[in-house]
């Protein structure tokens, strides 16, 4: 699946997007965050405060308990500050 990152999540990871292939044991958004956070220092910093990172599956807001299922794209970003 494709992972996309925005704002300081993007800056801390050092990538705007990438293809990821989590193992089958990763079922939920929260488990994917745990898996990503273990990939390296940038990821660990980006996901250090789990509460501060929001997620969207296929461009719809989701929470940590949401199953990833067959989603094609997952996005991680800070709380939004538009308007």
């Amino acid at each position: 699946m494709k992972a996309v990152y925005f704002a300081w999540v993007r800056e801390r990871i050092g990538l705007a997007e990438e293809e990821i292939a989590p193992p089958d044991s990763v079922k939920t958004v929260g488990q994917l965050v745990d898996w990503l956070a273990a990939r390296g220092d940038g990821y660990a910093v980006a996901f250090a405060s789990r509460k501060s990172v929001r997620a969207a599956l296929d461009k719809t807001h989701v929470n940590a308990q949401t199953p990833i299922a067959a989603a094609r794209e997952i996005a991680f970003f800070p709380p939004m500050t538009g308007g």
């Binding site: 925005f6 300081w8 461009k59 709380p79 500050t81």
Partner: protein
């Protein structure tokens, strides 16, 4: 069935022209409420804002919020324009136009739209400072969450 107009763009917008488009040929509209969000200079400290967005989701999420507003109030028309990219103090960032038969629903729906946009539309603002120091990402405010939360009702929570 009212179809909202949603645009996410780099370019500036013309408030009067957008209002004219929204009300063109209509004789049933009694009220248009316009909200324009501008870039503040933060007492001279801010050189510019850089607005990042999530292409695709930004439009979809604004349209979802607009759909919730249309389901909740009897509106005659809705236009939302949100800019991204580099924006200087004094420049326009966002426009919400709500047309209705009467002012009460137009005011309420416009405030609802802005409260929800702030917390749900995927945009992020980074500051560029006049003194050249490293700017930072603006942090979401708890009062913005509270402003959005007050619209939630037991029977129709728009966040669901």
């Amino acid at each position: 069935m009212v179809a909202p107009t949603v645009r996410v763009q780099v370019e500036d917008f013309d408030v009067a022209a957008e209002e004219a488009l929204l009300t063109r040929g209509r004789r049933d509209i009694g009220a248009v409420v316009a909200f324009t969000g501008l870039c503040r200079d933060e007492d001279g400290a801010l050189a510019a804002l850089e607005l990042e967005h999530y292409p695709g989701m930004a439009e979809e999420e604004i349209a979802r919020v607009a759909g919730t507003a249309l389901a909740r109030w009897p509106l005659a028309g809705l236009t939302i324009i949100h800019r991204y990219g580099k924006i200087s103090p004094g420049d326009r960032i966002v426009l919400t136009l709500v047309a209705a038969r009467h002012r009460a629903e137009a005011f309420s729906a416009a405030e609802f739209m802005m409260d929800y946009l702030k917390t749900r539309a995927p945009f992020w603002k980074k500051t560029h400072r006049v003194d050249g120091a490293q700017g930072d990402w603006i942090e979401a405010k708890a009062e913005d969450e509270a402003a959005a939360a007050r619209w939630a009702t037991k029977s129709s929570d728009p966040a669901q």
